[in-house]
Point group: C2
Chain length 482, copies 2
């Protein structure tokens, strides 16, 4: 006993001794009332300094595991751990439909997984090698020295005030009138969208969106029991005629659109179409949720204002913003901009969900942004991604010659194969060490079986060329079979 303790290098020794003795007490190897070896004895048994043992004993007493009696020694406290008869609950039968659907629709759990050595075009996360970690460190240290203690304690559900102010100005700089509007900070787009649907819809409500659209948005809409009406897209965005047909026929609770570098097609909705869309939804009084996804990753052409910029002082649109697709997605910061009144409700929902988004992250991110780092970063990132984007398009055209390449920017391209089943293709490519995202998961109906999304942000140019060639070759071999 005691002499068999093994130390590791990562954890302070007195903590390891404390935990070791705790384990013996909890496991019943040391009984209540039993006397521990003196600190001198224990120090020679464990071959550590006596001070270390004294320190460990002190902690054990603090935590109520032993009692040190002056001049008499250390004794194990009255610890009650009576293991009870085993109780087996069959959780699978207890979870409700919401949890079951969450699991069923969780593509991370059910899609093919990347294995070492494979080329993966699944990710559209930013390339972390572009992150300016040094500037982020500076922002952290600066914020900590200004208000470190404060930002480590509880904050406010709405968000960190200076960040809210920064983002209001940021939205103004996109041409948005922020009069009468406010911002709620969320844990990324996903939470923003989930909170909005939780607050504004009920099961069986109808919601309009582009078809295809962001798969996470589809998942969340399904989890809320909504009837999703997808509207087909043209090369410059949603088909306005089909949109109007749907609006004439049905009553919709909400609509959801990704006008810039649309996920998964990469299409930028033209300014004219934005105006048409806005007018139509206003006419039928269906509030718009605009997803500002990747708006910052413009590679060419003139600035295109978000639909939110068309509203003026009107309040029929809620904008969800996030830098997560470009910068530091690990800290999960997004925002909702909308009418003050609705933000008030969403704030209470946010508080009931998780009190608030990390104040540390919000404060550090604010510090990082306001020094102009974001502008510098986006300049660099845009250059790198643009080059990669152009290379990816070129390779796709060259190697996947049966496919039609869609998309004007962002971190991915979308390919429409003419009638070839993308899941069959994936299976064959998987065997050759290449994976991608089959396009069907983005569709609200059964279309899209012959489409795929190819994310290029985290692969090298060499991998793009090699991977696309494999996809192209497999496409051709599938064509022959047809």
């Amino acid at each position: 006993m005691f002499s068999d303790i093994k130390f590791n290098k990562e954890v302070p020794v007195y903590i390891q001794i404390k935990d070791y003795i705790k384990e013996m007490i909890l496991g019943g190897m040391l009984q209540s009332g039993e006397k521990l070896p003196s600190t001198r004895e224990m120090s020679s048994i464990m071959k550590v300094s006596r001070n270390t043992i004294i320190y460990a004993y002190e902690f054990l007493q603090d935590e109520g595991f032993i009692l040190i009696k002056k001049g008499k020694g250390a004794f194990v406290s009255q610890i009650h751990v009576e293991m009870q008869e085993k109780w087996n609950v069959n959780w699978s039968t207890l979870v409700n439909d919401y949890a079951k659907d969450s699991e069923r629709l969780d593509i991370v759990k059910h899609e093919d997984k990347w294995e070492k050595g494979m080329i993966s075009f699944k990710s559209i996360a930013p390339d972390e090698n572009l992150f300016d970690v040094e500037e982020f460190k500076k922002a952290f240290l600066n914020r900590m020295s200004i208000e470190g203690k404060k930002i480590l304690n509880y904050g406010y559900a709405q968000g960190y005030k200076p960040l809210i102010e920064y983002l209001l100005k940021y939205m103004k700089n996109k041409g948005v009138n922020t009069e009468g509007k406010d911002i709620l900070i969320t844990n990324g787009f996903t939470e923003g969208f989930d909170i909005i649907l939780s607050s504004l819809t009920k099961a069986k409500d109808k919601i309009l969106c582009e078809n295809p659209t962001h798969n996470t948005a589809i998942k969340i809409m399904k989890l809320h029991g909504l009837c999703i009406e997808g509207v087909d897209m043209d090369i410059d965005g949603i088909n306005i005629k089909k949109l109007e047909e749907k609006l004439q026929k049905d009553k919709f609770a909400l609509s959801y659109f990704i006008p810039s570098y649309h996920n998964p097609t990469g299409i930028v909705m033209s300014p004219e179409k934005r105006v048409q869309l806005y007018k139509l939804l206003r006419k039928y009084n269906v509030p718009i949720i605009e997803d500002g996804f990747n708006e910052e990753l413009r590679y060419t052409g003139a600035h295109v204002a978000p639909i939110a910029a068309l509203c003026g002082e009107g309040n029929g649109l809620i904008y969800i913003g996030s830098f997560s697709k470009i910068l530091f997605p690990g800290i999960r910061i997004g925002w909702i901009l909308g009418d003050k009144n609705i933000i008030g409700y969403l704030e209470s929902v946010k508080r009931s969900r998780n009190i608030h988004t990390s104040f540390l992250d919000q404060a550090v991110f604010y510090d990082y942004l306001q020094c102009g780092n974001f502008e510098k970063y986006i300049k660099k990132a845009r250059k790198v991604y643009r080059e990669k984007y152009e290379f990816a398009v070129e390779c796709a055209k060259k190697y996947i010659s049966n496919g039609q390449v869609i998309g004007e920017g962002g971190l991915h391209i979308f390919v429409k194969l003419n009638g070839i089943d993308a899941r069959k293709l994936l299976k064959k490519c998987y065997d050759k060490g290449v994976i991608f995202t089959p396009g069907d998961i983005f569709y609200t109906d059964d279309k899209g079986f012959d489409t795929l999304r190819l994310g290029f942000s985290r692969v090298t140019k060499e991998e793009i060329e090699r991977g696309f060639k494999i996809i192209g070759d497999e496409t051709k071999s599938l064509m022959k079979k047809n």
Copy 2:
């Protein structure tokens, strides 16, 4: 034009110039195709270096607001911002019952607010002056140098692996058998509880809990439409007889308990009672959600194991842990420990809610914990809070002599006045500059109108004495009136 720009010190000058020109373009003061002053001219108008202007113009071109034609100058791009007719949506009529209830039950919005100069006993947040910010900084810098880029990119819904491992060991050190169990990292207790109820209950389900209990838990149970059955408490925890009566009468989906330093009463459920409670719920097969609230803030006596330690390899209990009431609540990190199977479902729900909890925060927190900082911190904090607790009890007994003081630890005491309305008392105290939390918000029925919770973590001893005296005096004056 241009010469009226005003610079501030916080933001780089080129960004201010860029934003200023953007605003003019978006506001229509600069028209599409219009030529901007040359960089030389602009530099003399704005009284900044020419390089600054060149830099600002470059950014404007990058963002698509201007086009720089070599040898010809800079021209405003084709920007379409057509402000549309105002669209007014009446959001208050569109929000659903869930959002309305969230707002209605949001005590931050509806309870009396602290004003400058007041003594507030409302908070039970930790005193941030005890935080060891230097150690936290070290942990941050260490983690950043090891894997800074990685933890700023997307992580996993379940959580940061080393933190999960640390917490599994931490739970083992409380006597919990972690065989067949797993951990999900959440944004604090609140998110953990919300995710569990979202996954395991449906509206109208019955849930058991102590009466009184944590007000945020009551809010979340109500928001899920659950029928809450509160069981009265004795001085050593829940009344077992009353608990069994309820179990005999009704079928319950879940039960929720706070066995240690119970909120709001501060009662520690005795080890014997823990065993009785566990056996009863196993008998009736009602899964337990154990809230590990403030378990760490033991001031006296032997270690009391959580109910989770009674389960052995059984899986009928889900434990929710959080350090938020003691350490760094601003980063919002908590965890759920439970059967691997149920954690799998909860993980998918977490992913559909907000992808994952900040990986930066999880990684830094892990680094902080594994160096033994938590043990050192809790030793210091326990000493400070214990002293304050004892002082608060002493003052309460001295000044609020009509009340019965309940509670054995934690960051608050609970006072039962004999028949005096705590809301009337609050009104009178408010006028004298003292606020506290009226106890009724913790009750699942109409009891508790004559109780109050007094948090002492963020007030000085002097404020405790002065504040409690005011409460005592007002109590006496209300007694006389009765």
